[in-house]
Symmetry: C2
Subunit: 148 residues, 2 copies
DNA sequence: AACGAAATTGAAAATCATTTTCAATATATA
DNA sequence: TATATATTGAAAATGATTTTCAATTTCGTT
Protein backbone atom coordinates (compact mmCIF):
# COMPACT_ATOMS: atom_id res chain seq x y z
CA UNK A 1 0.00 0.00 0.00
CA UNK A 2 0.85 3.65 -0.44
CA UNK A 3 3.05 2.70 -3.36
CA UNK A 4 2.85 6.08 -5.00
CA UNK A 5 3.85 7.94 -1.87
CA UNK A 6 6.76 5.61 -1.22
CA UNK A 7 7.92 6.08 -4.76
CA UNK A 8 7.75 9.85 -4.54
CA UNK A 9 9.76 9.78 -1.33
CA UNK A 10 12.30 7.33 -2.78
CA UNK A 11 12.82 9.41 -5.86
CA UNK A 12 13.21 12.55 -3.83
CA UNK A 13 15.81 10.85 -1.64
CA UNK A 14 17.70 9.72 -4.70
CA UNK A 15 17.48 13.02 -6.52
CA UNK A 16 18.90 14.84 -3.52
CA UNK A 17 21.82 12.45 -3.16
CA UNK A 18 20.47 11.18 0.15
CA UNK A 19 20.35 7.61 1.37
CA UNK A 20 17.48 5.29 2.03
CA UNK A 21 17.60 4.20 5.63
CA UNK A 22 15.56 2.14 8.06
CA UNK A 23 14.66 5.10 10.32
CA UNK A 24 13.46 7.12 7.33
CA UNK A 25 11.31 4.29 6.06
CA UNK A 26 9.82 3.63 9.47
CA UNK A 27 8.94 7.30 9.86
CA UNK A 28 7.46 7.47 6.38
CA UNK A 29 5.34 4.40 7.15
CA UNK A 30 4.14 5.87 10.41
CA UNK A 31 3.12 9.03 8.63
CA UNK A 32 1.44 7.23 5.73
CA UNK A 33 -0.58 5.11 8.17
CA UNK A 34 -1.56 8.09 10.28
CA UNK A 35 -4.63 10.24 10.17
CA UNK A 36 -4.34 13.92 9.47
CA UNK A 37 -2.66 16.47 11.68
CA UNK A 38 0.01 14.47 13.48
CA UNK A 39 2.76 16.10 15.48
CA UNK A 40 6.41 15.07 15.57
CA UNK A 41 5.70 13.55 18.96
CA UNK A 42 2.77 11.55 17.54
CA UNK A 43 5.08 10.13 14.90
CA UNK A 44 7.80 9.51 17.45
CA UNK A 45 5.42 7.47 19.59
CA UNK A 46 4.01 5.56 16.62
CA UNK A 47 7.45 4.70 15.31
CA UNK A 48 8.81 3.61 18.66
CA UNK A 49 6.08 1.20 19.67
CA UNK A 50 8.36 -1.74 18.81
CA UNK A 51 11.86 -2.64 19.90
CA UNK A 52 14.11 -0.52 17.71
CA UNK A 53 14.13 3.15 18.62
CA UNK A 54 14.31 6.20 16.43
CA UNK A 55 15.34 9.51 17.94
CA UNK A 56 13.30 12.69 18.04
CA UNK A 57 15.88 14.45 15.93
CA UNK A 58 15.46 11.97 13.12
CA UNK A 59 11.69 12.30 13.27
CA UNK A 60 11.95 16.07 12.85
CA UNK A 61 14.48 15.76 10.06
CA UNK A 62 12.53 13.11 8.18
CA UNK A 63 9.22 14.94 8.49
CA UNK A 64 10.97 17.82 6.81
CA UNK A 65 12.00 15.56 3.93
CA UNK A 66 8.45 14.21 3.68
CA UNK A 67 7.19 17.77 3.50
CA UNK A 68 9.83 18.87 1.02
CA UNK A 69 8.99 16.08 -1.41
CA UNK A 70 5.34 17.13 -1.42
CA UNK A 71 3.75 14.40 0.68
CA UNK A 72 3.04 16.53 3.72
CA UNK A 73 2.33 20.06 4.74
CA UNK A 74 3.18 21.54 8.09
CA UNK A 75 0.31 23.32 9.80
CA UNK A 76 0.62 25.35 12.96
CA UNK A 77 -2.50 25.93 15.02
CA UNK A 78 -2.61 27.93 18.22
CA UNK A 79 -0.75 25.64 20.57
CA UNK A 80 2.81 26.09 19.34
CA UNK A 81 3.07 22.50 18.12
CA UNK A 82 3.69 21.89 14.42
CA UNK A 83 1.50 19.23 12.87
CA UNK A 84 1.73 17.47 9.54
CA UNK A 85 -1.10 16.66 7.19
CA UNK A 86 -1.20 14.66 3.98
CA UNK A 87 -1.14 16.68 0.79
CA UNK A 88 -1.03 14.10 -2.00
CA UNK A 89 -4.31 14.28 -3.87
CA UNK A 90 -5.84 16.55 -1.24
CA UNK A 91 -7.31 19.92 -1.95
CA UNK A 92 -6.41 23.17 -0.30
CA UNK A 93 -8.55 23.71 2.79
CA UNK A 94 -8.80 25.43 6.14
CA UNK A 95 -9.74 24.26 9.62
CA UNK A 96 -12.38 24.30 12.30
CA UNK A 97 -10.67 23.29 15.53
CA UNK A 98 -12.49 22.22 18.68
CA UNK A 99 -10.76 23.78 21.66
CA UNK A 100 -12.20 21.13 23.97
CA UNK A 101 -11.55 17.80 22.25
CA UNK A 102 -9.07 19.03 19.61
CA UNK A 103 -11.16 17.53 16.80
CA UNK A 104 -10.35 19.14 13.45
CA UNK A 105 -12.87 19.67 10.66
CA UNK A 106 -11.57 20.69 7.26
CA UNK A 107 -13.46 23.08 5.04
CA UNK A 108 -13.33 24.99 1.80
CA UNK A 109 -15.54 27.79 0.64
CA UNK A 110 -15.76 29.13 -2.87
CA UNK A 111 -17.49 32.23 -1.55
CA UNK A 112 -14.60 32.96 0.79
CA UNK A 113 -11.97 32.32 -1.85
CA UNK A 114 -13.75 34.72 -4.19
CA UNK A 115 -13.99 37.33 -1.48
CA UNK A 116 -10.30 36.89 -0.82
CA UNK A 117 -9.47 37.39 -4.48
CA UNK A 118 -11.34 40.68 -4.44
CA UNK A 119 -9.56 41.70 -1.26
CA UNK A 120 -6.14 40.92 -2.74
CA UNK A 121 -6.91 42.91 -5.85
CA UNK A 122 -8.20 45.87 -3.87
CA UNK A 123 -5.06 45.98 -1.74
CA UNK A 124 -2.72 45.18 -4.63
CA UNK A 125 -1.37 42.34 -2.56
CA UNK A 126 0.24 39.21 -4.00
CA UNK A 127 -0.80 36.07 -2.14
CA UNK A 128 1.85 33.64 -1.00
CA UNK A 129 -0.12 31.61 1.52
CA UNK A 130 -2.93 32.10 3.97
CA UNK A 131 -4.41 30.49 7.03
CA UNK A 132 -7.98 30.58 8.19
CA UNK A 133 -8.61 28.84 11.45
CA UNK A 134 -11.85 28.81 13.35
CA UNK A 135 -11.66 27.80 16.99
CA UNK A 136 -14.68 26.82 19.06
CA UNK A 137 -16.75 23.87 20.20
CA UNK A 138 -17.74 20.97 18.00
CA UNK A 139 -21.27 19.59 18.16
CA UNK A 140 -20.41 16.81 20.59
CA UNK A 141 -18.54 19.10 22.96
CA UNK A 142 -21.26 21.72 22.76
CA UNK A 143 -23.77 19.14 23.93
CA UNK A 144 -21.55 17.89 26.73
CA UNK A 145 -20.86 21.38 27.95
CA UNK A 146 -24.56 22.11 27.84
CA UNK A 147 -24.49 25.09 25.53
CA UNK A 148 -28.11 25.01 24.39
CA UNK B 1 -3.91 62.26 26.19
CA UNK B 2 -5.24 58.74 26.29
CA UNK B 3 -7.19 59.60 29.41
CA UNK B 4 -9.80 56.96 28.90
CA UNK B 5 -7.26 54.18 28.46
CA UNK B 6 -5.31 55.26 31.51
CA UNK B 7 -8.49 55.31 33.52
CA UNK B 8 -9.50 51.83 32.40
CA UNK B 9 -6.08 50.52 33.33
CA UNK B 10 -6.10 52.30 36.67
CA UNK B 11 -9.51 50.98 37.58
CA UNK B 12 -8.52 47.48 36.58
CA UNK B 13 -5.40 47.70 38.74
CA UNK B 14 -7.47 48.87 41.65
CA UNK B 15 -10.25 46.33 41.19
CA UNK B 16 -7.74 43.50 41.21
CA UNK B 17 -6.02 44.71 44.37
CA UNK B 18 -2.85 45.50 42.43
CA UNK B 19 -0.61 48.50 42.82
CA UNK B 20 0.11 51.40 40.54
CA UNK B 21 3.83 51.51 39.84
CA UNK B 22 6.26 53.47 37.73
CA UNK B 23 7.24 50.51 35.52
CA UNK B 24 3.59 49.74 34.82
CA UNK B 25 2.82 53.31 33.90
CA UNK B 26 5.83 53.57 31.66
CA UNK B 27 4.89 50.38 29.84
CA UNK B 28 1.30 51.54 29.47
CA UNK B 29 2.51 54.83 28.03
CA UNK B 30 4.81 53.09 25.59
CA UNK B 31 1.95 50.93 24.42
CA UNK B 32 -0.52 53.80 24.16
CA UNK B 33 1.95 55.79 22.10
CA UNK B 34 2.77 52.89 19.84
CA UNK B 35 1.33 51.90 16.51
CA UNK B 36 -0.41 48.60 16.08
CA UNK B 37 1.21 45.19 16.39
CA UNK B 38 4.07 45.78 18.80
CA UNK B 39 6.01 42.94 20.35
CA UNK B 40 7.20 42.71 23.94
CA UNK B 41 10.65 43.53 22.65
CA UNK B 42 9.33 46.62 20.85
CA UNK B 43 7.83 47.82 24.11
CA UNK B 44 10.97 46.92 26.03
CA UNK B 45 13.07 49.05 23.68
CA UNK B 46 10.62 51.95 23.73
CA UNK B 47 10.43 51.96 27.49
CA UNK B 48 14.17 51.74 28.01
CA UNK B 49 15.26 54.60 25.79
CA UNK B 50 15.88 56.78 28.84
CA UNK B 51 17.93 56.25 31.97
CA UNK B 52 15.73 54.09 34.17
CA UNK B 53 15.42 50.50 33.04
CA UNK B 54 12.48 48.16 33.13
CA UNK B 55 13.05 44.43 32.83
CA UNK B 56 11.71 42.14 30.14
CA UNK B 57 9.77 40.22 32.74
CA UNK B 58 7.86 43.28 33.79
CA UNK B 59 7.07 44.13 30.17
CA UNK B 60 5.56 40.69 29.63
CA UNK B 61 3.63 40.84 32.87
CA UNK B 62 2.30 44.32 32.27
CA UNK B 63 1.29 43.62 28.68
CA UNK B 64 -0.78 40.81 30.09
CA UNK B 65 -2.52 43.24 32.44
CA UNK B 66 -3.10 45.65 29.57
CA UNK B 67 -4.65 42.84 27.60
CA UNK B 68 -6.71 41.58 30.50
CA UNK B 69 -8.27 44.97 31.10
CA UNK B 70 -9.39 45.16 27.50
CA UNK B 71 -6.95 47.69 26.06
CA UNK B 72 -4.96 45.22 23.99
CA UNK B 73 -5.27 41.96 22.18
CA UNK B 74 -2.43 39.54 21.61
CA UNK B 75 -2.04 38.39 18.03
CA UNK B 76 0.32 35.69 16.89
CA UNK B 77 1.38 35.66 13.28
CA UNK B 78 3.68 33.09 11.73
CA UNK B 79 6.98 34.05 13.31
CA UNK B 80 6.45 32.84 16.85
CA UNK B 81 6.50 36.34 18.32
CA UNK B 82 3.41 37.58 20.14
CA UNK B 83 2.34 41.08 19.21
CA UNK B 84 -0.14 43.40 20.83
CA UNK B 85 -2.67 45.59 19.10
CA UNK B 86 -5.03 48.21 20.44
CA UNK B 87 -8.62 47.10 20.96
CA UNK B 88 -10.35 50.09 22.50
CA UNK B 89 -12.82 51.42 19.97
CA UNK B 90 -11.45 49.20 17.24
CA UNK B 91 -13.46 46.75 15.25
CA UNK B 92 -12.78 43.09 14.79
CA UNK B 93 -10.53 42.53 11.78
CA UNK B 94 -8.02 40.23 10.16
CA UNK B 95 -4.62 40.77 8.55
CA UNK B 96 -2.71 40.92 5.31
CA UNK B 97 0.97 40.54 6.22
CA UNK B 98 3.84 41.33 3.87
CA UNK B 99 6.46 38.63 4.25
CA UNK B 100 9.14 40.95 2.89
CA UNK B 101 8.74 44.23 4.78
CA UNK B 102 6.42 42.98 7.53
CA UNK B 103 3.84 45.67 6.78
CA UNK B 104 0.42 44.73 8.11
CA UNK B 105 -2.87 45.71 6.46
CA UNK B 106 -6.06 45.18 8.41
CA UNK B 107 -9.26 44.12 6.72
CA UNK B 108 -12.84 43.10 7.33
CA UNK B 109 -15.26 41.50 4.92
CA UNK B 110 -18.98 41.21 5.41
CA UNK B 111 -19.09 38.57 2.68
CA UNK B 112 -16.56 36.42 4.49
CA UNK B 113 -18.25 36.83 7.84
CA UNK B 114 -21.54 35.75 6.30
CA UNK B 115 -19.91 32.76 4.66
CA UNK B 116 -18.40 31.85 8.00
CA UNK B 117 -21.78 32.01 9.70
CA UNK B 118 -23.16 29.58 7.16
CA UNK B 119 -20.16 27.31 7.65
CA UNK B 120 -20.59 27.32 11.43
CA UNK B 121 -24.25 26.49 11.13
CA UNK B 122 -23.62 23.70 8.65
CA UNK B 123 -21.02 22.10 10.92
CA UNK B 124 -22.96 22.80 14.11
CA UNK B 125 -19.87 24.48 15.45
CA UNK B 126 -19.88 27.18 18.12
CA UNK B 127 -17.39 29.94 17.39
CA UNK B 128 -15.01 31.07 20.10
CA UNK B 129 -12.45 32.95 18.02
CA UNK B 130 -10.91 32.79 14.60
CA UNK B 131 -7.87 33.99 12.75
CA UNK B 132 -7.58 34.75 9.08
CA UNK B 133 -4.12 35.75 7.98
CA UNK B 134 -3.03 36.35 4.43
CA UNK B 135 0.70 36.34 3.78
CA UNK B 136 2.30 37.68 0.63
CA UNK B 137 3.86 40.76 -0.91
CA UNK B 138 2.53 44.27 -0.48
CA UNK B 139 2.37 46.59 -3.46
CA UNK B 140 5.69 48.30 -2.71
CA UNK B 141 7.56 45.04 -2.22
CA UNK B 142 6.01 43.53 -5.31
CA UNK B 143 7.37 46.39 -7.34
CA UNK B 144 10.81 46.18 -5.78
CA UNK B 145 11.00 42.46 -6.32
CA UNK B 146 9.92 43.01 -9.90
CA UNK B 147 6.82 40.83 -9.88
CA UNK B 148 5.06 42.28 -12.89
C1' DA C 1 5.93 60.76 58.87
C1' DA C 2 6.91 56.09 59.90
C1' DC C 3 5.27 51.08 59.97
C1' DG C 4 4.43 46.86 57.96
C1' DA C 5 1.67 43.62 55.24
C1' DA C 6 1.22 42.67 50.69
C1' DA C 7 2.49 43.38 45.97
C1' DT C 8 6.22 44.27 42.59
C1' DT C 9 10.51 43.98 40.40
C1' DG C 10 14.13 41.92 37.61
C1' DA C 11 18.11 38.78 37.26
C1' DA C 12 18.71 34.30 36.68
C1' DA C 13 16.96 29.83 35.93
C1' DA C 14 13.33 27.05 33.88
C1' DT C 15 10.30 25.80 30.11
C1' DC C 16 9.32 23.66 25.81
C1' DA C 17 9.23 22.69 20.95
C1' DT C 18 12.52 22.56 17.73
C1' DT C 19 17.35 22.88 15.82
C1' DT C 20 22.27 22.27 15.90
C1' DT C 21 26.48 19.87 16.97
C1' DC C 22 29.43 16.13 16.50
C1' DA C 23 31.37 11.59 17.21
C1' DA C 24 29.89 7.03 16.14
C1' DT C 25 27.50 4.29 12.62
C1' DA C 26 25.33 3.04 8.29
C1' DT C 27 24.85 3.27 3.18
C1' DA C 28 26.12 2.92 -1.48
C1' DT C 29 29.22 3.01 -5.12
C1' DA C 30 33.54 1.39 -7.12
C1' DT D 1 35.64 -5.17 0.48
C1' DA D 2 37.14 -0.43 0.72
C1' DT D 3 36.07 4.13 1.07
C1' DA D 4 33.77 8.36 0.65
C1' DT D 5 29.75 10.35 2.04
C1' DA D 6 25.49 10.57 4.48
C1' DT D 7 22.91 9.47 8.75
C1' DT D 8 21.92 8.92 13.43
C1' DG D 9 20.80 10.37 18.08
C1' DA D 10 22.37 12.09 22.56
C1' DA D 11 23.38 16.17 24.33
C1' DA D 12 23.70 21.00 24.06
C1' DA D 13 21.83 25.15 22.00
C1' DT D 14 18.07 28.12 20.66
C1' DG D 15 14.70 31.70 21.49
C1' DA D 16 10.46 33.50 23.14
C1' DT D 17 8.14 33.39 27.21
C1' DT D 18 7.38 32.05 32.15
C1' DT D 19 8.76 31.02 36.79
C1' DT D 20 11.42 31.68 40.94
C1' DC D 21 12.77 34.30 44.69
C1' DA D 22 15.33 37.75 47.33
C1' DA D 23 15.38 42.63 47.39
C1' DT D 24 12.51 46.70 46.79
C1' DT D 25 8.32 49.43 46.46
C1' DT D 26 3.57 50.61 47.38
C1' DC D 27 -0.14 52.12 50.27
C1' DG D 28 -3.49 51.79 53.98
C1' DT D 29 -2.88 52.27 58.82
C1' DT D 30 -0.72 53.99 62.98
MN1 LIG E 1 -6.08 19.81 7.30
MN1 LIG F 1 -4.61 44.25 13.68
ZN1 LIG G 1 -14.95 18.90 20.49
ZN1 LIG H 1 6.07 44.71 1.85
Amino acid sequence: MRTEERQIFGEYIKSEGLKETAPRNRILNAFLNSEDHVSAEDIYLLVNRGKRKVGFTTVYRTMKLISDCGLAREVMFDDGIARFEHTLGRKHHHHLICTRCRKVIEFTSKTMEDAEQALLKKNEFELQYHKYEIFGLCKACREQVGHK
